[in-house]
């Protein structure tokens, strides 16, 4: 058993050393070349994928990695978009706008998390559902800042003269640069110290606390980071779509983001990109097939993909597809099931979400 394992490990060691050198370089080259070779509509599509990949990444931080069900991610995208639109239309410095589009959603996320992270699993879900649901009428009421239901338009990020690029190429570069930076930073974060913490908070809060981790603190951290990343995706949304309205953050879109995250692959960096691609491409695909059957086709695609790949598209990338399957084998109890607390579980097999800390 162990011996067989070693061989595969040794084999992939060789691949690894090759990929370690060539992989990142190749990726950078591809990302630099992509905007130059494609027609405008493709560039726009890739940029949109970038926007939603970042949004899904944020959702992944709080839900995929830290295991806290969040149905409110779209609210932070909307908030980031509104902050950006407001700043741009008031001619603020774009760097200031960007920083605010990150910090304001992060701050709101922090406030929400301070309250919500005290509650159990499904209760967090309900508090987060409230964000888009209350957010839409709230955006209408604050029409002084949000433009009410007519929304805000803001066009920025046109290509500067010196670059010699088309606008769409310039914007795609911005999306790739900002989105790429967010992905890189998040990837670094979810490996090493913080990755281990989020993982154990998701898996078992009692074990987490026994090694000196306050689950509450890290749930708040994960939620805040997710909100911050949501804010970045809102900034990118304004850059690419150039318009936001209360419709942007409707509850339905939040559900679709969740579906995109699971389809892409929970707790996976590549899965976030795939989730963003799913979010953007599937509606375009169904439009190609038959625009009047969008819902039917989308539902069918979602079910077929999950039926074939319950671990999401990213599981294709995992050798032997082992990660998710083994998790499934060992975590029998569903996440959304507070009533399961009646089970006389031990620390190891009681699902994390049900523990309310001190008895």
């Amino acid at each position: 058993m162990a011996g067989a394992r070693m061989t595969t490990a040794a084999l992939s060691d060789r691949q690894r050393s090759w990929l370690r050198r060539a992989g990142p370089l190749l990726l950078v080259v591809v990302l630099v070349v992509v905007p130059l070779v494609f027609p405008e509509s493709v560039n726009e599509t890739i940029a949109r994928i970038g926007v939603f990949a970042v949004a899904v990444l944020g959702l992944n931080v709080v839900m995929g990695y830290a295991g806290q069900v969040s149905l409110g991610q779209i609210f932070f995208l909307g908030l980031g978009a509104y902050v950006t639109a407001y700043g741009v239309s008031n001619d603020w410095n774009i760097v200031v706008v960007f920083v605010l589009a990150c910090l304001i959603p992060a701050f709101v996320g922090l406030l929400v998390a301070l309250a919500a992270a005290r509650l159990g699993g499904l209760a967090i879900a309900m508090v987060t559902v409230a964000l888009p649901i209350v957010g839409v009428p709230l955006a209408k009421r604050l029409s002084e800042f949000t433009g009410g239901s007519q929304g805000l338009s803001a066009r920025f990020g046109d290509a500067p003269e010196w670059s010699g690029l088309y606008d769409d190429q310039w914007r795609l570069y911005l999306v790739l640069a900002i989105g790429g930076a967010v992905f890189l930073l998040t990837r670094n974060l979810v490996r090493g110290k913080y990755g281990r913490v989020l993982g154990i908070v998701k898996k078992n809060e009692n074990v987490a606390s026994s090694v000196g981790i306050s689950p509450y603190r890290y749930k708040v951290l994960a939620f805040t980071l997710a909100s911050l990343i949501g804010g970045v995706s809102g900034f990118l949304y304004m850059l690419v779509i150039q318009y936001t309205s209360p419709e942007t953050m409707s509850f339905g879109h939040s559900i679709q983001l969740l579906a995109a995250m699971v389809i892409g692959g929970a707790a996976s960096i590549v899965g976030s990109v795939l989730g963003g691609a799913y979010y953007v491409l599937v509606p375009q695909l169904t439009n190609l097939v038959d625009p009047s059957l969008t819902a039917l086709l989308q539902g069918a695609v979602l079910l077929v993909v999950l039926f074939v790949l319950p671990g999401g598209l990213a599981s294709l990338a995992r050798p032997l597809g082992r990660g998710r399957r083994s998790r499934a084998r060992h975590d029998p109890a569903p996440l959304i099931t507070p009533s399961a607390t009646t089970k006389s579980g031990s620390a190891a097999d009681t699902p994390e979400t049900e523990r309310q800390g001190h008895p």
Partner: protein
């Protein structure tokens, strides 16, 4: 662990190159250049012209959204079957419609626009304020016509702000104003309760209404409430308004089930005011009849289109042609449940009117032709209304007439009562 993510990175590259292959067939053109000189714009050849529509075909606004496509498809389907449309440049072209679903999501509407703009000559007929606003600026930058769209947002009819846009349906303010004028003209004292949708639609209606009744001594607004498009019930609002003692309710609602239940609720409370219903939720068959409208002293609505279900138009030639074409060419076998079907039929007629005066196959010339229509009586239009596109700040249909429910359909009225 690290082994996994290396191969994931490889996957990113694979995905990127797959994307590259998928789209490799396309080539870069357009991209903000727009049309120059008399060279034909995209989407038009000597034999065909292609129109794009982005509209909700799924989700909660799919009902009216489907209609916005069906009418225009039916109109040009019938024209194509008869040989095509004779353009002002002497050529006869068939009209192709490319309709995409945006699910009332602004982001998807923009995506639809991006994918259509190089293929189609003009974008038209799409329903929704946020979904049309989402790509308005891009359409201006790309110089792509976004015309005869189904939103009462005045922005689309402002020639200065929106050079490549034109709204079709009356701006919400106009519809509200028509009610207000009728009420003021009645001379009798009236107490008015207002219930409006909490968005630009409801607000526009109320704004128009208030501007018309402002300063009129006989009109008093006694209570004013809103509701959300996502609400499942307006019972509480009707209960609260019924206590206001109003004898008229100005009801700017765009959702059929809520209008029906509002009518029913008022009857249960034995509150029987005169109702003012907007043009898109006053269908006799879908709204007033199930709501028991006959119980009220009067149900008024504004309109510019003949209602096919109304007995008054049962024998109308326009209506007959329209219903037949809708079935045959519009993929719409049922009786139209939303007025948007009729409206988009008129959009087809208005587009044809512009086509016949175009002298060059360019988007520029199309906009010029479209903006020079005066008093065109499109089929299905009610007497007293017409398409006029020369007036800045006004949509293609600037006027409406007020009508009263007669138990089966609507009759145009000059005064209350």
């Amino acid at each position: 662990m690290s082994r996994h993510f290396r191969s994931r990175k490889a996957l990113v590259i694979a995905v990127a190159s797959t994307l590259a292959l998928t789209f490799a067939g396309c080539s870069r053109e357009g991209g903000g250049d727009g049309a120059t000189g008399a060279a034909a714009s995209p989407g038009i050849t000597d034999t065909t012209v292609r129109l794009g529509i982005s509209t909700p075909l799924s989700g909660s606004t799919a009902g009216p959204g489907t209609c916005t496509v069906a009418g225009v498809k039916a109109y040009f389907g019938a024209k194509n079957a008869a040989g095509g449309v004779a353009f002002g440049d002497g050529k006869t072209r068939t009209v192709e419609i490319e309709a995409l679903d945006d699910g009332y999501d602004p982001q998807r509407a923009k995506a639809n626009y991006d994918s259509l703009k190089d293929d189609v000559f003009a974008m038209t007929a799409g329903l929704g304020t946020p979904t049309n606003r989402a790509w308005r600026e891009a359409a201006i930058a790309d110089e792509v016509p976004q015309v005869l769209v189904m939103t009462g947002d005045p922005l689309f009819s402002d020639t200065q702000e929106s050079p490549w846009q034109l709204g079709f349906v009356p701006i919400y303010q106009n519809e509200g104003e028509a009610f207000g004028k009728l009420l003021v003209a009645s001379g009798a004292p009236h107490k008015v309760a207002i219930l409006s949708q909490n968005d630009d639609y409801g607000a526009g209606y109320v704004e128009g209404f208030k501007s018309a009744v402002e300063g009129a001594a006989n009109i008093e607004i006694v209570d004013e409430l809103t509701y959300e498009a996502t609400d499942t019930s307006v019972d509480a609002q009707i209960t609260q308004l019924s206590a206001s003692g109003a004898d008229v309710i100005f009801n700017a609602m765009s959702l059929v089930p809520l209008v029906v239940s509002a009518l029913q609720k008022a009857q249960q409370l034995n509150w029987l005011p005169s109702w003012f219903l907007p043009s898109n939720t006053s269908s006799p068959g879908a709204v007033v009849e199930p709501g028991g409208g006959a119980a009220f002293p009067g149900i008024y609505s504004v309109s510019f289109a003949k209602a096919p279900a109304s007995p008054a138009f049962a024998g109308d030639e326009d209506v007959q042609t329209y219903l037949a074409a809708l079935k045959e060419h519009g993929d719409y076998p049922d009786a139209p449940a939303f007025p948007h079907c009729q409206w988009s039929w008129m959009v087809g007629a208005t587009l044809e009117q512009a086509f016949t005066t175009m002298t060059e196959p360019t988007r520029d010339d199309f906009m010029r032709a479209l903006r020079s229509i005066e008093n065109f009586e499109a089929p299905l239009m009610l007497p007293g209304t017409a398409v006029t596109t020369t007036e800045s700040g006004q949509p293609a249909v600037p006027t409406v007439v007020v009508q009263k429910y007669n138990g089966k359909g609507y009759d145009t009225v000059e005064s209350l009562g």
